[in-house]
Structures are given as structure tokens and as C-alpha cells.
């Protein structure tokens, strides 16, 4: 279970501290058991539902709207430079 949690924490890109790891290892086991209740029900030949309301794809006219100004788009960025978002290095 510890190994699974470590793997999930990496996949989700959420670092966990020791205290959280201890709690979540325990929780995952319990929540999995709770999820496993679905194993009791027969779903053979049942189609999955992803959307409850049947809608056809909606297209709107391909007209340009009014975009946010550069200032407004960058206003909430924790780090920026020369009109760009500044991201951490990739490598």
C-alpha cells in the first residue's frame, strides 16, 4: 500500500509529508473497500453514462470574441517576465 501511495502521489504530482502518508495509507485501504461494494452489482450489458442530458455538440459561430488584455491575463500570475508567464525550468 505504501508503494501504491507513493506511485499515486507521483502520478498526481502531489507531494505528501510523513503525517499525510501515514493517514492516507490507512484511508486508501478503507476507501478501496468502500469502492469495492460496486463489485456486488451486475453491470453486464449496461452502457456507461458520461452525460445525463443528451445534447448534440454545440458549435458557435467562428467569430473572434474579446480576449483578456495581456495585463489582465497576467495579473494573477505568481511570476512573470516581459509579458510572459514565468514557469519553472522543465529540465
Amino acid at each position: 500500500m505504501e508503494k501504491l501511495l507513493e506511485h499515486l502521489s507521483w502520478l498526481a504530482r502531489v507531494k505528501l509529508c510523513n503525517y499525510e502518508r501515514k493517514l492516507l495509507v490507512n484511508d486508501i485501504a478503507k476507501i478501496m473497500e468502500f469502492f469495492n461494494r460496486l463489485g456486488e452489482i451486475d453491470v453486464k450489458d449496461v452502457e456507461p453514462t458520461t452525460h445525463v442530458i443528451e445534447l448534440v455538440s454545440v458549435f458557435r459561430e467562428d467569430k473572434p470574441g474579446k480576449p483578456l488584455s495581456l495585463d489582465k491575463a497576467l495579473k494573477n500570475a505568481p511570476s512573470k517576465e516581459g509579458g510572459f508567464f514565468k514557469a519553472p525550468r522543465i529540465l
Binding site: 501504491l4 501511495l5 499515486l8 502521489s9 502520478l11 498526481a12 504530482r13 502531489v14 507531494k15 505528501l16 509529508c17 499525510e20 493517514l23 492516507l24 484511508d27 486508501i28 478503507k30 476507501i31 478501496m32 468502500f34 469502492f35 461494494r37 460496486l38 463489485g39 456486488e40 452489482i41 453491470v43 449496461v46 452502457e47 456507461p48 453514462t49 458520461t50 452525460h51 445525463v52 442530458i53 445534447l55 455538440s57 454545440v58 458557435r60 483578456l68 489582465k72 491575463a73 495579473k75 494573477n76 500570475a77 505568481p78 511570476s79 508567464f85 514565468k86 514557469a87 519553472p88 525550468r89 522543465i90 529540465l91
Partner: protein, 489 residues
């Protein structure tokens, strides 16, 4: 206090006729917040007194000029803090958005403004709407105005608390698995989760897109219909918005209902079974007793798939959450951890510091349900169970006009009582999640009290039958005789 206890549908008329001054009204709202907020903690961001008074003065000038119009002209409204408000901080109850100020309004906020409403504050909520008690908020728990030791329900706990505390007559919440109905039940207020697609989600910060709807909250059914009139509209910015016009829900309330024969109400046996406290069961049965008769027949009905609604809901909601919350990378907006390092290191540390425990738990579990080797067993299976639940509702609605049950299986619980046991907290949603899975409208109205602790009655209707649902709710509200309740504080 008197003007603050007025229903919104009366307040609007009194304002437009000049009987109530908007400046006085807003002043009283502000005073009441100053008096109660330290006890209740229902508000994350309160607009400044000077801003609010300036808006009130401008609105009074419009009245004098004869230019005032709108269904909510001058009416104070509270908005849950996961609904984007241009220029007003919108935190989602999270540290990761602590300083986020949206550059645009959610569609529902635009519609509120268009009808002349005055947005007073942004209300407290469980972090990213993940919780049933408002305890997971980064800004501390909201307290239930009926008993300050207890939770107001969640996740729209702040919105329910400002209503029950007599601060504002209208509030917006959002409902992914019961987040409007649960706090309405716990605070003796009224909350509606509309049909999926009726109200635009544009500008609602996403938790689980396929389940959630913004919903109106108030202290009576008529005000809920009024607020639904304002926010329910097709929106091209929401790909799941249902096209076409909407009925006038207020108009439909004022007309008698046209149903062949008697009104058939189905009491869902699965919603009265295991996990429901004796006290809640007693209050619900007593309320149904008051309702039945005079052309209203109540009969038990079984929807056997509902037994599996809760795990199916949590698998779907957590899976969608794990995908939705990937956007919090600390680059375009929100908090970023102050460390050096490459993308993965900064991203992981940002989320470690920015998210609370429940959010992390749900991201991790959602990642698990979607991961290779488990997808079919969990996520896909949950979607199939969703189909079975939909089919069960369709069958039941062939026989019954509406279905009823308790909104919450238990009474409002003490702060701290469940927060350490995630599964015990998830169990609180057992009555509410099925309406989200099926996309149907569902409302909670006050059913009664045990001591000073409120119990809510849940009523569910077929998709797009809000007119019928509200009309029936109004009839039930009349018969139960509980409306416009404000907690003694």
C-alpha cells in the same frame, strides 16, 4: 432587523416603490455582519462598506431617475466563493487561490448584476467544495446559526449560514453531491439543485463537471423560484447548457397545479433505511403526515440501485476532481511554493503546500480510480451503475410525480465530530448524491426540528420539471408551515 427578515420577493417591490431605502438596507446588512460574523464565520470576503454604500447610492439615484429595473433591484445577495466575481477575490476556500482575483464574472453573477442585485460577500465553503460540513475550508469552519457548536452542513455552508443568520435573503451555492441541499437542511433554509444543464456553469470553479450545478438558496420556496428565474438561462459559454428558453418559475407558483387525478408522491424506501437516524425518520414521517390527503397520495417506492449510489458517486467525483485540479500548477494564477527546482519539484511542492488534506485525498483516490489496471474496475463500472440509477429514476417517475426522502440522514453534528473519519463524512451524502448522478432537480425544504436542530425534506422531480417541483414544494411548505426562519442569535 425587520427589513432584514423580509423575503426577497417582497423586498424588491418595497425598494422599487421607494418604501425602503437601499442605503439604509445595505447599512443594516453591514451592521448585522459586524455583529454576527465573529460568531458564525460564514464569509471569506466581504466587500468594503464604502464600495457597498456607493453602489447603493447609485442605485437610489436610478430609482429617482425612474431608470431602475430588474427582478432583484437593490436586493442584497451572497455568492459562494467558488463562483467567479470580477474584481472580488474568489478563493474556493483554498490556500492555493487565497489571492486570486478573477478577471471576469461567472454567467450567473452577470445575470445577478443585470437584475440589479447587490453582491455583498463571498461565502465560506469546504475547500474546492469537497466536504459536507464546511470544516475543510482553509479559512476555518463556519458555525451553524442554530447551534454554534455544530456544523452548518456543506459545502455551501457559508451561503446557508448567512441566510439562517438573517444577513441576506438570497444566496448562491453549488451542488456536486448535495452541497446546496445539505446546508439548507441543516439550517432550516431552502436550497435547490437544478436539472443538470439548466444553469450555466461558466465561471464556476470546477470540482466534478458532470455532476455539479449552481443552485439558488433562500428562506422560502418563492424566493428560490425568484432566484432561479434570474440565473436560469441558456449560455453559449457552457457546452452543457441546455438550449432554449426557460419558464417563468414565479408565474407557475401562483397557478394551481394541473395533474390528472391526485398528486402521486413516492417515498423512497432506500432513503429511509440503514444509516438514517430515528430522529430524522420521525420528523420526515410527521411532515409527510401533514402533507398527505387532499389529493396528495404518498406511497413507498423502491429504487434498488440507490444502494450503490454513494460509492459510484465518489469514484466519479474524485476521478473528475483529480483531472480538474491538475490546472493548479502555480504558473498562471494562484499560489506557488517558494523553492528552486525543476517543473516537477515546484509543481509538487506548490500542491503540497496549497491544498488541504481532503483535497489531496480526493486527488489521490481519483488518480487511483483512473489509473492503468483499475480504470475498468472502478471508473467504468461507476459509470455503468450511473446508468442503472438513471433507469431506476425513469421507472419511478412513470408512476410518481415526485419522489421524497430526508435530505440528510442525521441531525447537524458537532464541529470536529466527523472530520477525522473521511468515510463517516462521505456517508452524510447518502441521500443527496443520486440526484446528481441522474442529473435531476432536487430541493430541500424545512421538515421540522428536533429541539433547535433542523431536519430537511428532500423532493426530487424528473429532469426539467422545476416548475412542478417548486409548485409542489410550495404546497408542502404551506402544509408544514415552516418558512422565513431566522436562527435566534
Amino acid at each position: 432587523m425587520d427589513v432584514l427578515s423580509k423575503p426577497a420577493n417582497e423586498l424588491g417591490e418595497l425598494i422599487l416603490s421607494g418604501a425602503i431605502s437601499i442605503v439604509d438596507l445595505i447599512d443594516k446588512v453591514y451592521e448585522r455582519i459586524m455583529k454576527l460574523e465573529s460568531k458564525v464565520n460564514a464569509i471569506i470576503t466581504l466587500r468594503s462598506r464604502s464600495d457597498l454604500l456607493k453602489e447603493a447610492e447609485n442605485k437610489e439615484k436610478e430609482i429617482k431617475r425612474g431608470a431602475a429595473k430588474g427582478l432583484l433591484f437593490g436586493v442584497p445577495v451572497a455568492v459562494k466563493d467558488n463562483i467567479s466575481t470580477k474584481g472580488i477575490r474568489t478563493t474556493c476556500g483554498s490556500k492555493i487561490l487565497e489571492n486570486y482575483v478573477p478577471p471576469y464574472d461567472a454567467t450567473v453573477v452577470k445575470l445577478l448584476k443585470k437584475e440589479g442585485a447587490i453582491i455583498i460577500c463571498k461565502t465560506n465553503m469546504d475547500e474546492f467544495a469537497m466536504g459536507s460540513s464546511t470544516e475543510t475550508s482553509y479559512f476555518g469552519p463556519t458555525r451553524n446559526p442554530w447551534d454554534l457548536e455544530r456544523v452548518p452542513g456543506g459545502s455551501s455552508g457559508g451561503s446557508a449560514a448567512v441566510l439562517a443568520a438573517g444577513i441576506v435573503p438570497l444566496a448562491l451555492g453549488s451542488d456536486t453531491g448535495g452541497s446546496v441541499r445539505c446546508p439548507a437542511a441543516f439550517t432550516a433554509t431552502v436550497g435547490l439543485k437544478p436539472t443538470y444543464g439548466l444553469v450555466s456553469r461558466y465561471g464556476l470553479i470546477a470540482y466534478a463537471n458532470s455532476l455539479e450545478q449552481i443552485g439558488p438558496m433562500a428562506r422560502n420556496v418563492t424566493d428560490v423560484a425568484l432566484l432561479l428565474n434570474v440565473i436560469s438561462k441558456y449560455d453559449e459559454n457552457d457546452g452543457t447548457s441546455i438550449p432554449g428558453s426557460r419558464p417563468d418559475y414565479m408565474y407557475s407558483l401562483s397557478n394551481p397545479y394541473h395533474i390528472k387525478g391526485s398528486l402521486k408522491v413516492g417515498l423512497v424506501v432506500e432513503m429511509m433505511g440503514e444509516g438514517v437516524s430515528d430522529e430524522v425518520r420521525k420528523v420526515i414521517l410527521r411532515a409527510l403526515d401533514k402533507i398527505s390527503g387532499e389529493g396528495i397520495e404518498i406511497e413507498e417506492v423502491s429504487l434498488s440501485s440507490l444502494k450503490y449510489a454513494l460509492p459510484a458517486y465518489y469514484i466519479i467525483a474524485m476521478s473528475e476532481a483529480s483531472s480538474n485540479l491538475a490546472r493548479y500548477d502555480g504558473v498562471r494564477y494562484g499560489f506557488r511554493a517558494k523553492i528552486d527546482g525543476d517543473w516537477n519539484k515546484v509543481y509538487m511542492e506548490t500542491r503540497a503546500q496549497g491544498f488541504g488534506l481532503e483535497v489531496k485525498r480526493r486527488i489521490i483516490m481519483g488518480t487511483f480510480a483512473l489509473s492503468a489496471g483499475y480504470f475498468d474496475q472502478y471508473y467504468l463500472r461507476a459509470l455503468k451503475v450511473r446508468t442503472l440509477i438513471l433507469n431506476d429514476f425513469r421507472r419511478a417517475f412513470k408512476k410518481f410525480n415526485v419522489l421524497v426522502g430526508p435530505t440528510m440522514p442525521i441531525l447537524p453534528f458537532k464541529i470536529g465530530e466527523k472530520i477525522k473519519d473521511p468515510l463517516a463524512m462521505y456517508m452524510c451524502d447518502i441521500e443527496t448524491v443520486s440526484a446528481n448522478l441522474a442529473g435531476i432537480p432536487a430541493i430541500s425544504i424545512p421538515a421540522g426540528f428536533i429541539g433547535n436542530l433542523p431536519v430537511g425534506l428532500q423532493i426530487m422531480a424528473p429532469p426539467l420539471h422545476e416548475e412542478l417541483l417548486l409548485k409542489i414544494s410550495k404546497i408542502f411548505e404551506d402544509k408544514i408551515g415552516l418558512r422565513n426562519l431566522i436562527a435566534p442569535l
